[in-house]
């Protein structure tokens, strides 16, 4: 795992209570072929994965402007100096702490279900959301291919489960969720490797 220069992280409230970060979706920059409830459910699951390993709570809010993490789908040059490039190429980007912007390329064929979406260029929204939330929390790209924070993702590929590399990286920034057990993650990875 790797961090951004200066190892930035979110700092909120006291260290004794779990930190709460709010997130919201742009009211004007969304895609219309996936329902709002499906997109919200995908991000809820993606946030839950990180929430399960660190003492941070993620709560959705309707107030986009004041949310800590602001999510939107944008096309081409969208004003942050990092224009999107159309189908495939760059899929998404996010800013390091404590900026909170998480942008997805609206030109991609985002999918939540490969069984119903037969497009060759379909990209799994949940995989990319999970990766970008890692950046929002302060993780940079890793060289571990299996990890969520690996920089590339092929179309029609799903990679949503945090690997030991992801977990160790984020826990070094925020500490461990008291309910998280490394042994269960190790067992899961071992069973996957054996299979």
């Amino acid at each position: 795992f790797a961090y951004f220069y200066g190892k930035p992280r979110w700092v909120r409230g006291s260290r004794k209570t779990p930190m709460t970060l709010t997130y919201a979706f742009s009211p004007s920059n969304m895609i219309d072929y996936l329902s709002s409830s499906d997109i919200r459910a995908v991000f809820r699951r993606a946030f839950c994965r990180w929430e399960s390993v660190i003492p941070v709570n993620f709560t959705e809010t309707g107030n986009y402007q004041s949310a800590n993490i602001r999510i939107g789908f944008y096309r081409g040059d969208h004003g942050d100096g990092e224009p999107f490039d159309g189908v495939l190429g760059v899929l998404a980007h996010a800013f390091s702490p404590e900026n909170g912007r998480l942008h997805l390329d609206a030109a991609e064929t985002w999918t939540i279900n490969f069984k119903s979406d037969k497009s060759k260029v379909a990209v799994d929204l949940e995989s990319v959301a999970t990766h970008e939330i890692g950046h929002v929390l302060g993780l940079a790209h890793t060289s571990v291919k299996e990890a969520v924070m690996y920089p590339s993702l092929s179309p029609r590929t799903r990679k949503v489960d945090l690997k030991i590399d992801d977990v160790k990286g984020v826990q070094a920034l925020y500490g461990s969720n008291p309910n998280f057990k490394f042994s269960s993650l190790l067992a899961l990875e071992n069973s996957f490797n054996q299979a």
Partner: protein, 117 residues
Amino acid sequence: PCFPARTPPGLSTVINVDAHNSTWQDFVRFLHAGKGSHVSGMSELKRYFNRFGYLPIPGTDFNDIFDTKFESAVVLYQKNLGLPVTGKLDTDTISAIMSPRCGMSDDASHALHRTRH
């Protein structure tokens, strides 16, 4: 009676539309290029490497020569992405380059790190 013209099955035309990534698909032509080679358009690949944190911006425009600096960038890219380190644009490397990816730089010091205003 007149019937609509029908195309015999043997004469039907099948058009295969390649819906794949057009952004970096063209980089396949650099496959097997190595140090010292000069391939037209390699400056685009150098811009890619610059964008993702492997090459600094030169004083002048990027050229089309596979030079020592570019070789070092390829080696660093291969190490960072867990690829076999050859310093050449082999199949694994070109395939990784053409893969869709996150827009954040692989050089953490060049990432989108801005304070919130």
